[in-house]
Amino acid sequence: LTRSASRIRTLRGRTWSLRALLWLVLAWAPAAAAADYAVLLSRAGGAYDTFFDVLRTGLPQTGAHRLDYAGSLDGESDEAILGRAHAYIAVGAEAAERLAARGDRPILAVMVSSQGFRDVQAHHPRSTLSAIVLDQPLDRQMRLIRALLPKAERVGILLGPSSDSLQGPLVAAAGALDLVATITRLDDDSQLIPALRQLLQTADVMLAVPDPVASNSTTARPILLTTYSYGRPLIAYSRAYVQAGALAAVYSSPADVARQVGEWMANQPTDGTRRSTVETPRYFSVAINRQVARALMLDPPDEATLAAAIKDKQP
């Protein structure tokens, strides 16, 4: 992923001695040549800005990698910076889409859902795309449910066409914690209310999984109101959902993601190796809606305690 890497191509076919010399140079490269990452935001402001600020301030100034801010899609993007970068960090799915269309550099997509990332991959199969996705591992979500509701037996989950593939993994993750996942698949949102009611007749708790049909900005209101009317808690996937009325969520904040990106960069070889990797969030936060907890007569521990309680077990 370095300038040296692209040079490798041009050298291909030349003499072995040259190639040996080059490998020698590359061995010293981390100290010698800093790699430039151009960062492009899908939108300026909000979570994306926070991510970039944390990433920039947290990165060692003398590291092997340098960050260059290339702007945002809704503002101006700096072609010069993009042109001289060795690789891109795309913040948000739209930025990943735009940069993948250029097809000229390896890309690390961050602050994207795995579904959003898969869509970009599908559109640009030839791009070298890596990602740190926002989707929390399912077992971590189930651990949160268990920590909040030790007596819960059944988790109700609505899936849509694009999240349907999670059915098996969700059942397995729930089963590992003695929970039964009851899953209904929606083909379109016209059947949202009946499907929800059906689930709520047997579920102790609902788990929202992002899906363009089953769980999005529009369906959040009926889901929250209906779930509350049955006196059941909803576990969601974002801080905004918790503020809207979900009981709790495990999520990665921009700072959590920035920390992982920093580590990812530090571990990147500068030898030009291009492997597409997809990492799940290593760092996460827990959000609790105290007002909702009180209304449901629940008394959850504080967020830090919960976050510690659901940490991944060290192998």
Partner: protein
């Protein structure tokens, strides 16, 4: 807990100064599309705050007052088709119906034909009548099918809801249009004269305005002629629009509007003074509420509502040799504006405060002896501050300061302490004072019958100044959720001291034998042709009510649910009561049990048991002996799971007639009906 604190009413004229079904259509055009809320990254998409304080129930562990919730499942399982009947499920509450007026609901005694001591709100809109302060239960513009839940404060709560939250507050919350879908048809009928058909249509307009239009028509013979007393058959048409508009991520506008039309056939087959007649009622309302989320636990609300009610009551009374045309028409209106701020400063401090102003108006020659409109303005400010210094301790200080045109300035304070015994159980100690301001009738009433330009009879003449009734109360409660058992408990003992009880007395004008002469002058043009006796109001008597209430709610998914309530109540007088019946006006024991059982093949059965010890209903009512009532319901769901499609059979009171309100006079008709609900 309170949606909106104050509020009240109904009203208006047959040519009712109509509700202005405002420009709801225009509203739709002004709304932003929710597409703006969408984001391709669901994890960072912004969302509106949906579960605000006004949408949720305060945890009973933290509430400064005893609260019972009647939820959707209980409403369905009870088989009740009328809202007042649902209150049988609340510990200590008693319900009665009679043919000459609205059904009545009472708590802790002194119930009569005008249940003016319990404040009733629908989505924060006060529906107690400006005329009598009572609730016309059968004319409410909502049906049981519209209700999401009913929150009942089982005691005085003037500190949060102002005057007239005297013996309780019933807050009816309607279902959000967002929680329903499609079109539903509901039909109920029995083999006699109970017919009930309703339709509910849900939709979304402009991408951000969710609405529901519901309409129903029902007819029922509630009472047949018994022992020469009056009968009653009712017919009601109810149309309602309920809408929620997202103005932005933080702003929501809730719109409710509706119309009720009714005709009641009532009267006596044998009493020529009260022959069979048809009473007409028209009601309309418009209610707008703007809610802004300021922070996760901070919300500002501003609401306005208008209510109008018109009753048309006319008959010809045969009195001796005279045929006297009687007319008891009345038009009332209420306009109310109020704001409320709910704010949590920190984990320890929470504040709720607000203020409002209201105008009640009434016009009735029959009730006020004038063709002019009588109006009264009322303003109030209320606040409640909670302080939680430790996890276990929660203090709450609240109060309402209000001023009525016809009862002066009142301050209703309350102090409460909740002490957590464990994360899921707490003790509550609260004490306060609440008032009931006299109604327009009690302060300005001049009910009269005219004949040939003369006033021949004055049933009510509120000639003397009266003070608000007062109650001082103290209670100790215990609330627990026993999670392992799936059991919620709510119990309390209470002590209430009532004073300045507003009673009616009778006196006579110009009586030849000088029997109980009136201390005030008769109305002009009074000749007493029919009677020289008149009733007036005085503050009289003080008494103490004490008792114990307990409720248990056990449920298990897949098995079913049992909801039990029990109350023991005793009224004690210490020589300051003018009417001995007051002591017997609360049953010593009331019990309700609702058993809901899930059965295989999508069947569901429920049994309701309601027990009341003997009670004496005051004034128009009388003694009713011990009653045990059994209601049965069996239902089967069909169609798509969760759709709500269902048919059911319901048997109320075991299918038998029962004495109600006055055992010597009234027998309520039983009901055995079938119902069908289909959604598509």
């Amino acid at each position: 807990m309170q949606g909106f604190a104050p509020g009240n009413s109904n009203l208006a004229s047959m040519k009712v100064p109509g509700t202005r079904p405002l420009a709801i259509g225009i509203l739709c055009m002004l709304l932003p599309s929710t597409d703006a809320l969408a984001s391709s990254d669901p994890y960072f998409a912004e969302l509106p705050v949906v579960l605000t304080a006004s949408r949720m129930v305060q945890s009973p562990l933290d509430a400064p007052a005893p609260v019972t919730i009647i939820d959707r499942e209980m409403i369905d399982a009870s088989g009740f088709t009328e809202i007042h009947d649902l209150l049988r499920l609340v510990p200590g509450f008693v319900v009665a119906d009679w043919p000459d007026g609205s059904p009545v609901v009472a708590n802790h005694g002194i119930g009569d034909a005008f249940d003016r001591r319990i404040k009733v709100l629908i989505d924060g809109r006060n529906v107690n009548s400006p005329l009598w302060g009572d609730v016309n239960w059968q004319d409410l513009p909502v049906r049981v099918d519209d209700i999401e839940r009913i929150e009942v404060v089982r005691g005085p709560n003037g500190a949060a809801y102002g005057a007239n939250a005297f013996q309780g507050v019933i807050n009816i919350l309607t279902r959000s249009p967002l929680t329903e879908h499609g079109v539903s048809l509901i039909v109920r009928r029995d083999d006699r004269n109970f017919r009930d058909a309703g339709v509910r249509i849900n939709g979304r307009t402009g991408g951000a305005f969710d609405w529901r239009l519901s309409a129903s028509r029902r007819a029922a013979d509630n009472f047949r002629s018994f022992d020469g007393k009056t009968f009653e058959s009712i017919e009601r048409d109810v149309v309602n629009l309920s809408g929620v508009a997202d103005l932005s991520l933080r702003d929501e506008l809730r719109v409710h509007a509706g119309v009720v039309r009714g005709d009641d056939r009532r009267g006596s087959a044998t009493n020529p003074e009260l022959p069979a007649r048809t009473d007409g009622v028209r009601e309309n309302y418009l209610h707008l509420a703007w809610h802004r989320s300021l922070a996760p636990e901070s919300e500002f609300s501003l609401q306005y509502y208008h209510q109008g009610r018109a009753t048309r009551v006319g008959w010809t009374a045969a009195v001796g040799p005279f045929s006297i045309p009687a007319n008891a028409d009345a038009d009332t209106q209420r306009d109310d504006l109020e704001f409320q701020l709910n704010h949590r400063f920190s984990r320890a401090w929470h504040l709720l405060w607000g203020a409002g102003v209201r105008r009640d108006a009434a016009r009735s020659r029959h009730y006020f002896n004038t063709n002019k409109t009588i109006a009264a303005t009322h303003w109030q400010t209320f606040g409640s501050l909670s302080w939680q210094p430790t996890d276990a301790l929660l203090f709450n200080a609240g109060g309402t300061l209000e001023r009525h045109d016809y009862s002066g300035t009142l301050f209703s304070p309350r102090l409460a302490l909740n002490y957590r015994l464990s994360p899921h159980s707490s003790l509550r100690l609260s004490s306060g004072t609440a008032y009931r301001a006299p109604s327009l009738m009690e302060s300005r009433g001049r009910q009269n019958f005219e004949f040939r330009g003369q006033i021949i009879f004055v049933p009510i003449h509120a000639a003397l100044p009266v003070d608000p009734e007062r109650v001082r109360y103290t209670e100790l409660g215990y609330v627990a959720r026993l999670e392992r058992l799936g059991l919620d408990l709510d119990t309390r003992i209470f002590h209430e001291r009532y004073s300045r009880y507003l009673d009616d007395r009778t006196c006579r004008h110009n009586d030849r034998r000088r029997r109980s002469p009136c201390s005030f002058a008769p109305l002009e043009r009074f000749n007493g042709l029919v009677s020289n006796q008149t009733a007036y109001f005085v503050n009289s008597g003080a008494f103490t009510v004490r008792g114990l209430e307990a409720a248990a709610n056990w449920s298990r998914l897949g098995w079913g649910r049992i909801v039990v309530s029990q109350a023991f109540i005793e009224i004690r007088e210490d020589g300051m009561v003018s009417d001995d019946d007051i002591v017997a006006s609360a049953p010593h024991s009331t019990t309700s049990i609702l058993l809901i059982k899930d059965l295989p093949w999508r069947w569901k059965a429920s049994v309701g048991y309601y027990h009341t010890h003997p009670i004496v209903w005051l004034n128009d009512g009388d003694r009713v002996p011990t009653r045990d009532r059994y209601d049965f319901r069996i239902a089967r769901a069909f169609g798509q799971p969760g759709s709500g499609d269902e048919f059911a059979f319901v048997m109320q009171n075991g299918g038998a007639r029962y004495p109600d309100f006055d055992e010597r006079s009234f027998r309520h008709e039983p009901r055995v009906y079938a119902s069908l609900r289909v959604t598509w």
